[in-house]
Point group: C2
Chain length 351, copies 2
């Protein structure tokens, strides 16, 4: 799934260059490319589909030249994850109605790839044999309030747990209780299931979507696909797979682990993940001289120099023609800032 816009990384991410296409870690590979590389280690490349917004087709093809154009599914409108997954499912079912699938966001970071891939392989085996929807759960390492949590039962002998509930983002107090209890895990948005199981679940919980994409299925991979999807997609309900199916399904398991996972949701989470200097500053891409500066994250274009005096707990990010300076603990406001920028006259260069 590579269709997000993501304004939380503004000004680094822009409408025409969202987070999944950025080389966050400076490794020379974007998050999308890293996600592709990761799965390509255990899944044949021709079995990988990328679902993205129409607007990003060229970007995807440029970043993943090893993919056939037909593997890139284009959404003509933003409709959240349930229609996105239904679309991919229609494609997959045309090739193999009994395929085992893994669904993952293309804009997350996984630093422990081996553990992650071992879990995916184990999970695929599990959903092949059992009529169950499976999700990956991340063992929390901090009382994070910006994630959804999964409450899970005891681990069975094979390492799987039954999902009790999917929870909304908690407040800090609750997040601390979640952590201490040991039965709550972060919902990483990574799902595994057999095509038959999820197809049944669509019919049970989102029958309108199921009907639409069953009708669309014969067109998949043909010349008619694009125009058909262009008609159909915008009529789909805007709903997440979590809210539309996972929270209601009766047989949902979770496989928990620590995969060095981050959704890189905000500058603050990038700060948490990154190496720090002796004063707790994270300096990415650029060079910096800091004086009396603590616990900041500074990201300027390569080749630039920052000289900073007397900043504590700030985000300082520059990209192209925009500079953002914001207190780290107020970063949830960045969405509002970007919205305000979008209201400015002559703003098109900035968003």
């Amino acid at each position: 799934m590579a269709g997000g816009v993501g304004s939380r990384f503004w000004p680094y991410s822009r409408n025409n260059r969202p987070k999944q296409f950025l080389d966050f870690c400076g490794t020379g590979r974007s998050l999308l490319q890293m996600t592709f590389d990761r799965f390509a280690r255990i899944i044949p490349k021709e079995n990988i589909l990328v679902v993205t917004n129409k607007a990003y087709k060229a970007l995807v093809m440029e970043q993943l030249p090893e993919m056939n154009e037909k593997q890139v599914l284009l959404e003509p409108a933003r409709r959240n994850t349930a229609p996105c997954i239904a679309y991919a499912l229609a494609h997959i079912r045309k090739r193999d109605t009994k395929a085992n699938m893994v669904v993952a966001p293309a804009d997350h970071l996984i630093t422990k790839e081996d553990e992650f891939l071992a879990a995916v392989e184990k999970g695929l085996e599990h959903v092949a044999k059992n009529d169950v929807l499976l999700t990956l759960g991340i063992k929390p390492n901090r009382p994070e309030v910006s994630y959804g949590y999964i409450q899970a039962g005891a681990e069975n002998e094979k390492g799987f747990r039954k999902v009790k509930t999917f929870t909304e983002k908690p407040n800090l107090e609750l997040a601390k209780e979640f952590m201490e209890s040991g039965e709550f895990f972060w919902n990483a948005g990574v799902f595994l299931w057999n095509a038959e199981t999820i197809h049944k679940a669509f019919w049970e919980f989102l029958p309108d979507l199921a009907a639409k994409f069953d009708e669309a299925s014969p067109m998949m991979g043909t010349d008619e696909e694009e125009s058909y999807i262009n008609e159909l997609f915008p009529t789909c309900q805007n709903i997440s797979i979590d809210y539309g199916i996972m929270e209601h399904a009766r047989k949902v398991d979770v496989l928990c682990g620590d995969f060095g996972w981050s959704d890189l949701g905000t500058w603050g989470s990038l700060y948490d993940l990154s190496d720090k200097d002796d004063n707790g500053n994270v300096i990415l891409k650029c060079r910096a001289l800091t004086y009396d500066c603590h616990d900041n994250i500074v990201v300027l274009p390569e080749g630039k120099l920052a000289v900073l005096y007397g900043l504590k707990d700030y985000i300082v990010v520059e990209a192209d023609n925009a500079l953002l300076i914001c207190k780290k603990q107020e970063e949830q406001r960045i969405r509002q800032f970007v919205n305000d920028v979008s209201m400015m006259p002559d703003n098109s260069d900035f968003i």
Copy 2:
């Protein structure tokens, strides 16, 4: 006088683009150009000399195409204001040993030009008739600690005062006393005198310099000037006209007024001079959205956008490849920062 480097406006000013060549006010004219325009209202253009460092010859000619190359005197080394003025004096004396002169820095701002020019004309008349060195004094509007002060006697019937002492930069307490006393004025570094008077003063207080430039005088304006000055100038004593002559001369007058003068010495003084928004922020050249921001000065290249949250009393300046963020009250440290930058490896792009 247009030879300064001035690191206090880093990163906006650089070694190859010092303050006098910058369009600080966004009017389309640099401080040097504004200084030239100002004096050209009362002094024939061909009687204006610019003394600058060799390295800035091309910049001066580019910014002042109306000047003849021979009006631009090139210093092959930095030797403070006394040698600079002695060099200009040698030029002027070759044309007219009885000329009346006004000497002014090319990197100051004067917002009340009419008052200023009226004072200059009155001063030129005064030094034409009297064997006296004259300086302009600025009525202080705040207890500034970064300026030198002139202690002056009572105003005579013509509006002139005798200088009692030139003082060093005072501490805040003393600066407040200076202001209250009513007999202290800022030393703006603008001097008026007759060529004979200052020539005598050079022989009295800096005889070595006087002898050197008397010897050089016949070469002025000839093909030999450049090579002669290249030899002579580096051997000159490094000394200011204030310290070398003004503080010792017996007959020094001061003409005081309020000329909307600023030496634009620092980002802080530019802040003080500039229009502010409702929250006391000064935004120059760029566009900005500010949230919970007070009393900052923000200068980014034209066309850029700054989004700022939770900054109070900061300097935020970007130019080319460098970004400076510094508490306003710590701006005197910028010199140190620039020095530190000059110690970095591969730093040549930054200074």
